[in-house]
């Protein structure tokens, strides 16, 4: 978790020391840009690339040749620089996520450039999944739009906790401070309602390059805050070093008789030789003997490191297992709650068996939709049928074997998953774990719940009643044969 400043505005601190020229002292900051069509997103990204000198001369020349036109400031039409694919260029729309790279002396940046149009929720979700920060664009003349709320909602849902509001086209509103104050106030309210407290609003003109990389010269004397690039340089990258140790095992390396190492990328916490770990789902305990990397045998590894772990005893570990710290292990079970974004035209169907991949673990799952997010209002509406493409839903996940997760809130690596359609093998949803459900299909052993076994027709009648509909969220329904139910119940007895 990033340290969140207590006050919503005081997120920008003076930077102590510039990084050494030869090495950047920070990980690349990943960000996503969101805006409605014509807010100036292409112009802004183009401006960032241009002013940080990421556009090379020959690319600019190709651009000038292809566009044949320049804007009034003699700069090329940046949108052409960004739209990489011919088909899109012909149609004049951007339809997918493109990645852009630029850097300052202090830090490098990876921008996921996603289209603003509403039906492309899926692209935004894709771009946001890896982002540390979201830049939301607003046209100073129009203020916040419903579209801005949608984008902010998706960004927050995907776990982004730092927003920059780029109030663009300020040159067209006479650099009026009152307009900025109003929009930034509205935005702060919006962000807070989504649980995002790190918010910076910046008045700018992407076209003229004011407050993007260079401060505006005299046009906005009332603005004392950072330029966009300063805000980005100071943003934090996500770190999952605080929770318990997590190593999803990608490979078991056995190059010779004597060596057996478990290879993977540390997905949380830290580890050192001598630490005790558990292997999930088996629960076997062992101690860490060595952390092997190509360079040196290391005395510690932290989140993000790609390592090979050697344990002190022969244990059974396979790809898809997770090696974790003994204190603060993740949740294991066969039932979880999650939020998902449906990514493909077929949507996500209730009861269908999908593949779920999380970390290196792939297993079978069925999905029961519970509710759907109405993006215009930010409200969750009951919804138990197919989640259509671009829908964001709350769902119950039922696994056939033990699954291992943290909540996405706690760990973005071990709380995230994708769903794969078993027929097309395409990626059909991205999802985030919100909680564990009690095992065995929703029988809450400790809670005030009963398990009823009803004839299907009677169940249907009850489910059609108003009282039932109002509390649909609290109910878990499984259609089982008598044999399955018997097995289920006998298991319950054993676990009790």
């Amino acid at each position: 978790m990033t340290a969140t400043a207590a006050s919503s505005s005081a997120t920008i601190l003076p930077f102590a020391e510039p990084a050494a020229r030869s090495g950047r002292d920070a990980r690349p900051l990943r960000l996503i840009t969101c805006g409605s069509v014509d807010d100036g997103k292409s112009t802004l990204i183009g401006r960032l690339l241009w002013d940080t000198k990421a556009v090379k001369e020959d690319q600019a020349a190709t651009l000038a040749r292809d566009s044949g036109q320049q804007n009034d400031l003699g700069l090329p039409d940046f949108a052409l620089l960004l739209d990489g694919l011919q088909a899109e260029r012909e149609q004049g729309i951007t339809i997918d996520v493109a990645y852009r790279y630029f850097a300052t002396d202090r830090r490098s940046f990876i921008v996921a450039d996603t289209p603003g149009h509403e039906q492309y929720t899926r692209n935004m979700a894709t771009g946001a999944s890896t982002a540390d920060l979201a830049i939301l664009l607003a046209d100073a003349r129009a203020g916040l739009l419903e579209q801005t709320r949608r984008h902010a909602t998706i960004a927050a849902l995907m776990g982004i906790r730092q927003f920059v509001l780029a109030v663009n086209k300020f040159d067209l509103v006479n650099y009026d401070k009152a307009i900025f104050d109003q929009i930034s106030h509205d935005f702060r309210e919006l962000a807070l309602s989504l649980g995002v407290r790190q918010v910076t609003a910046i008045p700018m003109s992407a076209l003229k390059g004011e407050n993007v990389v260079y401060a505006s010269e005299g046009a906005m004397p009332w603005y004392q805050g950072p330029t966009l690039i300063e805000a980005l340089e100071l943003a934090t990258t996500r770190s999952t070093q605080t929770g318990g140790f997590r190593l999803p095992v990608q490979r078991v390396a056995r190059p010779g008789e004597s060596f057996r190492g478990y290879q993977g990328t540390v997905a949380g916490g830290a580890i050192k030789p001598g630490d005790s770990v558990a292997i999930l789902p088996s629960g076997t305990i062992a101690n860490v003997k060595q952390i092997v990397t190509f360079d040196l045998v290391r005395n510690a590894a932290v989140a993000g490191d790609a390592i090979t772990l050697v344990l002190d005893r022969q244990v059974d570990v396979a790809r898809g297992d997770m090696i974790v710290s003994i204190d603060g292990p993740p949740m294991t079970g066969t039932g979880f709650d999650a939020q998902i974004v449906a990514l493909q035209p077929g949507g996500i169907e209730p009861g269908k068996r999908y593949w779920l991949k999380s970390g290196s673990r792939r297993q079978r799952v069925t999905v029961e939709p519970v509710s759907q997010l109405e993006l215009s209002s930010g409200k969750w509406q009951p919804h138990a049928s197919t989640l259509a493409m671009n829908a964001i839903g709350k769902v119950h996940l039922a696994f056939e074997e033990q699954a291992i997760f943290d909540t996405y809130e706690q760990n973005r690596a071990t709380g995230a998953f994708i769903l794969i359609d078993p027929d097309t093998l395409n990626t059909v949803a991205g999802g985030m774990i919100t909680a564990k459900r009690a095992d065995l299909g929703g029988i809450h052993l400790e809670g005030q719940r009963v398990l009823l076994s009803l004839p299907a027709d009677l169940a249907e009648q009850i489910m059609a009643s108003e009282l039932f509909a109002a509390r649909r969220n609290e109910v878990e329904i499984r259609r089982l044969s008598g044999k399955q139910a018997t097995d289920l119940l006998s298991d319950t007895g054993e676990n009790d």
Binding site: G23, R24, D25, A26, R27, P28, K56, D58, Q59, T62, D66, L81, L82, D83, G84, L85, Q86, A87, I95, D96, A98, Y99, R100, Y101, R107, S108, R122, N123, A125, T126, S129, T130, Q250, R251, A253, R254, P255, G256, F259, G261, Q263, T265, V292, T293, D295, D305, A306, R319, K357, S358, G359, A413, A416, F417, I418, I420, L425, N426, T427, G430
Partner: protein, 317 residues
């Protein structure tokens, strides 16, 4: 099971290098993660090895990813027979030194039909000797995953490329219909005949590549460093003039000057730049003030700006 091979590796560099800066470390970690994931999920991966700087970085990362084991898949070099001589020497040395399985493939049509970059034009030649040759080699090997060193910052059509780039059984890439890729959870499920190209260097920029080569002391083909070399000016490019197959056209003369190459490919299609940067430090210094992107020296990109995308759809790497 060459035990001796890993033991040489274990003894390899006990000299501690200064740790990578967090930026390069993050890129390295990501690449290693991708290597391991592909190696675990696919039945028969292969690494496309073009001998250039990006391939050299890719190979170095592969060695790191699987250490202390050896690289668990072969390297494939599509040899057009028109590569720089120094490239081929370097390739063979590296394969020997690191105990790699090297597969070299040349499209037999080149010889049979006398297809050369001089006689057939760069577009046709590239199509046959690179694109078609690559497909032949991938089909022959039955590879279901191929690592490549492409970077998204290289060219506009690559900005939307996935890390796992899905290919149909006839190696086609459909930019309109790519799988969404969220977090670092890659979907490695494919049907028989389909394959993926995996790009561990997707998020690297040219400067990152050079800084990593420096930090990790990765050997490169010497052509990347400036030296006095003979060249001929043709179509606005400086072409290395040492291969006897290069015939001077009327009016052309062999000149000498301090030149180097920013990318390496087939010598008749790869232009040199004037430079005095004869070592890594100087190359990086030159790069940091450079205003011309690295693909500029390549004839293949210049016909029209959509040309790379067209080639990719057809199966060019």
């Amino acid at each position: 099971m060459p035990l001796s091979a890993q033991e040489t590796e274990i003894k390899n560099p006990p000299v501690s290098k200064p740790p990578l800066d967090p930026h390069l470390k993050a890129l390295e970690n990501e690449a290693i993660h991708i290597f391991r994931e592909v190696a675990a999920e696919f039945e028969k991966p292969v690494m496309l090895y073009s001998i250039g700087k990006d391939s050299s970085v890719l190979l170095h990362l592969a060695r790191k990813a699987f250490y202390p084991g050896r690289v668990p898949f072969p390297l494939l070099h599509v040899d057009t027979t028109w590569k720089f001589k120094e490239m081929i020497e370097f390739r063979d040395e590296i394969a020997e030194k690191y105990d790699l399985d090297l597969v070299v493939h040349t499209n037999p049509r080149g010889k049979a039909e006398g297809i050369t970059p001089f006689t057939h034009g760069s577009a046709f030649y590239t199509d046959i000797m690179k694109t078609e040759a690559l497909k032949q080699a991938l089909d022959a090997g039955g590879y279901d995953a191929a690592f490549g060193g492409a970077r998204r910052d290289e060219e506009a059509s690559r900005a939307k490329e996935r890390i796992y780039s899905f290919r149909t059984p006839d190696h086609k890439w459909d930019p309109r219909n790519q799988r969404p890729e969220l977090w670092n959870v890659y979907n490695g499920m494919i049907k028989k005949g389909e394959s993926v190209r995996a790009f561990p260097l997707s998020n690297w920029t040219e400067v990152d590549i050079w800084r990593y080569i420096q930090a990790e002391d990765i050997p490169l083909v010497p052509l990347y460093y400036a030296a006095e070399r003979p060249y001929v000016e043709r179509d606005g490019m400086m072409i290395l003039a040492e291969d006897p197959r290069l015939q001077l056209l009327p009016g052309e003369t062999v000149q000498h000057g301090s030149i180097r190459f920013r990318t390496l490919g087939c010598f008749p299609l790869t232009g040199a730049i004037r430079s005095t940067a004869s070592n890594l430090e100087e190359v990086i210094a030159e790069l940091e003030i450079a205003t011309v992107s690295e693909r500029q020296g390549r004839a293949i990109d210049r016909d029209q700006s959509g040309s790379m995308e067209k080639k990719k759809r057809e199966g060019y790497f």
